[in-house]
C-alpha cells in the first residue's frame, strides 16, 4: 500500500515537472492571420549573427551608438558586456584562459597587450591595416599592438599623461602657466602659490597603484629624458638623476607643504576628484581625467578653469611622459571572425573615432583626426593634449612590469610617508627590479 502510494506520488510529481517544462503554446489570436501564398520556394531565413564583445564602460556611449548603426546597416547584432576598469583585467584573463567565453572581440589596454598577446589568444589581423595604410595611424600605437610581427588589435583610442592647472589659482598667485617649462619652474611656482596662499596645495600627487607610474612617478622621470630599464629589463634609473630628482621633489613637496600629503592614498581617479574640489593648483593625469576636470561638472567644481600645458622637462628636454592606448582584439576562438572584423573596421573608422573624440574622452588613433577643426572646436584644450602625445612613449613590455609598477608606487609612498629617504627608496626599487626580473 505504502509502495503504491509512493509510486503514485512520484508519477504525479513527474507529470507536473513535464507540464512545467513544456514550451508554452501561444495564445490563440482572435482572428487567425492568413499567410500569403508564396509564389516561389522561400529561402531558409539566415540565422541572425550576434557578435559578442567585452569592453570597459568608459566608451559605452560610442560603442552603443555604432553597434546600433552597424546592426541597422548589416543586420548583425552586437552584444556588449561592459566591465569596470578595476575588474576588466581579471575578467579578461579568466575569460581568455577558459577558452574565450564565447566572445568575439575583447578590449586590450596597452598595459596588458604584451601579457595577453603572449598567451596566443588573439587572431593576427594584419590585413585590417595593410602596409600602405599604416601611415594613417599613430605609429606608436600600431607598434604597441604588433606582437612578433603581427597586429593583434585594432587601435581604438590613445591618450597619455597630461599636466593640468587651475587657472584661477595661478592667476591669484601671479603665476603664468607659460612660465612652467621645467620642474624647477614648477617648484618655484609651488613656492609662490604657498607664499600667496592662493591654494591649499600646489600639487595633488597620486601615489597609489595603478595610476602612480603613468600619471606621476613614471611620467615625471620620463619627462626629464630618462628611462627606467635597458632592453633586457635591467634597472638603469639608479644611474641617472631623474628618478632621484623626482623622489626628492616628492620629499621636498611634502615637507614644504606644497604637495597634498593625502596623495599617498589616492589613485588617479581620486586625484581628479581632489583637483576638482579646487584646493590644488596642478595635477598630472590621464587624457580622460584631464578632460573631465574641465568638462564634467559631476566630477569637478573647476570646470572651465582647468587648463593644460606640456609636462615640464629638465635642461634641454622640453617634455615627456607615458602614453596609453586601447585596442580591440579578435579572439582565435571567435565563430564569427568575418563579421567581427567588419565591426572592428566600423568602430575604429574615422567617423566613429571622431565622434568619440568630440564626446571628449580619449584621443583618436588616426593621424588625420589630430588636426580636425571640428574636434578642436568641440574639445577645449584639444591642441595641447594632442601636442603632448608625440613627447610620450609606451612603458616597457616586460611580463613582470605590472608587479614592478606596484613596487614603484610603494617606493613613492615610502618617500611621501617619510619612511625612506629618496636615495634609500631608489636603492630598494633597484633591488625589487632585480628580484622581480629573476623570478
Amino acid at each position: 500500500m505504502r509502495t503504491q502510494f509512493r509510486l503514485i506520488v512520484s508519477l504525479a510529481v513527474f507529470a507536473l515537472l513535464l507540464v512545467a517544462c513544456a514550451t508554452p503554446t501561444a495564445a490563440p489570436t482572435e482572428a487567425p492571420q492568413v499567410q500569403p501564398v508564396a509564389t516561389e520556394e522561400p529561402a531558409a531565413p539566415a540565422e541572425a549573427v550576434t557578435i559578442r564583445m567585452l569592453v570597459r564602460p568608459d566608451e559605452g556611449g560610442n560603442v552603443a551608438k555604432y553597434a546600433e548603426q552597424f546592426k541597422q546597416e548589416t543586420g548583425i547584432n552586437v552584444a556588449v558586456d561592459f566591465v569596470g576598469w578595476a575588474e576588466i583585467h581579471d575578467k579578461t584573463v579568466t575569460t581568455l584562459a577558459s577558452g574565450g567565453g564565447g566572445y568575439d572581440i575583447v578590449f586590450i589596454p596597452n598595459a596588458n597587450a604584451f601579457e595577453f598577446a603572449s598567451g596566443g589568444w588573439f587572431e593576427p589581423i594584419d590585413d585590417m591595416i595593410p602596409a600602405a595604410e599604416r601611415d594613417l595611424w599613430l605609429a606608436a600605437v600600431v607598434d604597441m599592438y604588433t606582437h612578433e610581427g603581427s597586429l593583434i588589435a585594432m587601435p581604438w583610442y590613445s591618450g597619455g599623461a597630461h599636466f593640468v592647472y587651475n587657472s584661477e589659482i595661478l592667476e591669484k598667485a601671479g603665476v603664468s602657466p607659460e612660465e612652467v617649462v621645467t620642474w624647477d619652474d614648477f617648484m618655484a611656482a609651488c613656492q609662490k602659490i604657498k607664499e600667496t596662499s592662493a591654494a591649499e596645495f600646489c600639487f595633488s600627487p597620486s601615489a597609489k597603484y595603478p595610476g602612480n607610474f603613468y600619471y606621476n612617478f613614471g611620467s615625471m622621470v620620463r619627462s626629464q629624458g630618462e628611462t627606467f630599464f635597458d632592453a633586457e629589463g635591467n634597472p638603469t634609473f639608479q644611474n641617472g638623476q631623474a628618478a632621484l630628482n623626482v623622489m626628492e621633489m616628492y620629499d621636498t613637496g611634502i615637507k614644504e607643504g606644497y604637495f597634498d600629503p593625502a596623495g599617498i592614498a589616492l589613485d588617479d581617479y581620486e586625484t581628479l576628484i581632489a583637483f576638482g574640489t579646487g584646493k590644488t593648483a596642478f595635477m598630472i593625469n590621464s587624457t580622460w581625467s584631464a578632460t573631465q576636470a574641465n568638462r564634467n561638472a559631476e566630477l569637478s567644481a573647476v570646470t572651465g578653469n582647468a587648463g593644460y600645458i606640456l609636462i615640464p622637462g629638465a635642461g634641454e628636454v622640453r617634455s615627456g611622459g607615458y602614453i596609453y592606448a586601447g585596442g580591440l582584439g579578435l579572439l582565435k576562438t571567435s565563430e564569427h571572425k568575418a563579421e567581427a572584423k567588419q565591426f572592428l573596421t566600423y568602430l575604429t573608422s574615422e567617423e566613429a573615432q571622431k565622434h568619440h573624440a568630440m564626446e571628449g574622452g580619449n584621443l583618436p588613433t588616426r593621424v588625420a583626426l589630430f588636426t580636425d577643426a571640428e574636434i578642436a572646436a568641440a574639445w577645449p584644450g584639444f591642441e595641447t593634449l594632442a601636442a603632448q602625445l608625440p613627447y610620450g612613449e609606451f612603458p616597457p613590455k616586460f611580463l613582470w612590469f605590472e608587479e614592478w609598477r606596484r613596487s614603484a608606487a610603494s617606493a613613492v609612498q615610502d618617500v611621501m610617508g617619510g619612511r625612506k629617504d629618496p636615495q634609500a627608496a631608489i636603492d630598494w626599487l633597484v633591488e625589487e627590479t632585480n628580484r622581480l626580473k629573476a623570478q
Binding site: T94, E115, S118, E270, T277, L399, S410, G417
Partner: protein, 309 residues
C-alpha cells in the same frame, strides 16, 4: 575424520522497509554528493595538482612542466610572502579578538529585556547584511583623506585640527582595515552568542545570585563556560574568514600603502591574477589551507568542551 559442523551465523535480514529507506536515502543524497564532489572535491584536488606545476598563463609556449614542491619553496622564500604572513597575523589577531569581545558584550546587552529589544536586534544585524565589496567601498569614502566623513566628523567635534590620511601609513591603514572588518563581521558573531545565551537556564543565575555571586562572577563561572562551544565555533569561523580576507583589502587599500595591508589572500590574488603564475598562486592557497587546518585543531583542543546542564 569426522567433520565438525560449524553452525552458520544467523543471516541478518534487512527488512524490506529498511532497504527501501536506505535506497531512498541514497537516491536523495546522490545529487548533493555529486554537486559537492564537482564543486569542492575536484577543485581541491585539481588546485593541488596545479600547485605542483609551473603554469604561467601568459607563457603558454613554456607548457606546464611538473616542478614538484618548487612553487612552495619559492613562495616561502619570497620576502613579500613573509611580509604578508606577518600582516595577516596582525590582522587576524586584532580583528578576531576585538570582534569576539565586542560581540559578547553586545550579545549580553541585547539578551537583557528592554523596550525595543527586537528592533535593536534587527538594527545590529544590518552591517552583516551589507556585501563585503560594498562595505569596502563605503569605508573607502568614509576614510578618504580629503573629503571623508570620518575626518569631517572628528574635525567638527574639535578632536582633530587637521585631516588625517587614514590610509597613508601602513600601520594606520591596517588598523582601519581592522575597523572596517569589525564593523562588518561583529553582528554575525553577536548573533551566535545571543543564540547561545538564550539557551542558558535562568535558574543558574538566580541560584548564583542567592549564593551572593556578583555579575562578573556569574559571567566567568556560568555564562562563559556554557557558551564555550559557541565560542569555539565563533573563533574558528572568524579566524578562517579573516585568514582568507581579500575583498575588503581589494576595494579599500589594494594591499597598500607600501604593501602594509597585503594579507596572504591578497598575495595569492597577486600571484594568480596579476603575475598569472597559477602554480605559485595555488601553492600559497595550499599553505593557507594547512595553516587553517592546524589552527582549527589547536582551537578545538583549547576551547571545545561538551556542555552538560
Amino acid at each position: 575424520m569426522g567433520s565438525i559442523a560449524v553452525p552458520k551465523p544467523p543471516r541478518r535480514y534487512m527488512s524490506r522497509r529498511k532497504r527501501e529507506d536506505l535506497i531512498l536515502a541514497a537516491i536523495l543524497l546522490a545529487p548533493a554528493t555529486l554537486i559537492i564532489a564537482l564543486v569542492t572535491l575536484y577543485p581541491f584536488l585539481r588546485s593541488f595538482w596545479i600547485s605542483l606545476h609551473k603554469w604561467n598563463l601568459s607563457r603558454p609556449q613554456e607548457g606546464r612542466p611538473f616542478v614538484g614542491l618548487d612553487n612552495y619553496i619559492q613562495t616561502i622564500q619570497d620576502p613579500l610572502f613573509l611580509d604578508s604572513l606577518q600582516v595577516t597575523l596582525m590582522f587576524v589577531v586584532a580583528a578576531v579578538t576585538l570582534e569576539i569581545l565586542l560581540a559578547i558584550g553586545i550579545a549580553l546587552m541585547l539578551n537583557r529585556p528592554f523596550r525595543g529589544q527586537w528592533l535593536m536586534r534587527m538594527v545590529a544585524l544590518i552591517p552583516w547584511a551589507i556585501p563585503s565589496v560594498v562595505n569596502g567601498i563605503m569605508w573607502k569614502w568614509i576614510l578618504n583623506p580629503s573629503y571623508g566623513s570620518l575626518n569631517g566628523l572628528l574635525y567638527s567635534l574639535g578632536i582633530i585640527d587637521q585631516y588625517i590620511i587614514w590610509l597613508g601609513d601602513p600601520k594606520l591603514a591596517l588598523a582601519m582595515v581592522v575597523v572596517a572588518d569589525i564593523w562588518k563581521e561583529t553582528p554575525f558573531i553577536m548573533l551566535l552568542f545571543l543564540a547561545a545565551l538564550q539557551t542558558i537556564p535562568h535558574d543558574l543565575y538566580e541560584a548564583a545570585r542567592v549564593d551572593g555571586s556578583t555579575a562578573v562572577q556569574s559571567f566567568f563561572h556560568i555564562t562563559l563556560p556554557l557558551i564555550r562551544p559557541t565560542l569555539f565555533v565563533a573563533v574558528a569561523l572568524r579566524t578562517i574568514w579573516a585568514l582568507k580576507s581579500f575583498d575588503l583589502i581589494y576595494t579599500l587599500t589594494a594591499g597598500g600603502p607600501s604593501s602594509g595591508t597585503t594579507v596572504v589572500g591578497y598575495y595569492t590574488y597577486l600571484k594568480s591574477f596579476v603575475s598569472l603564475q597559477l602554480g605559485r598562486g595555488a601553492s600559497v592557497a595550499y599553505i593557507m589551507t594547512f595553516a587553517v587546518l592546524l589552527l582549527v585543531i589547536v582551537y578545538q583542543r583549547a576551547l571545545y568542551r561538551e556542555v552538560r546542564y
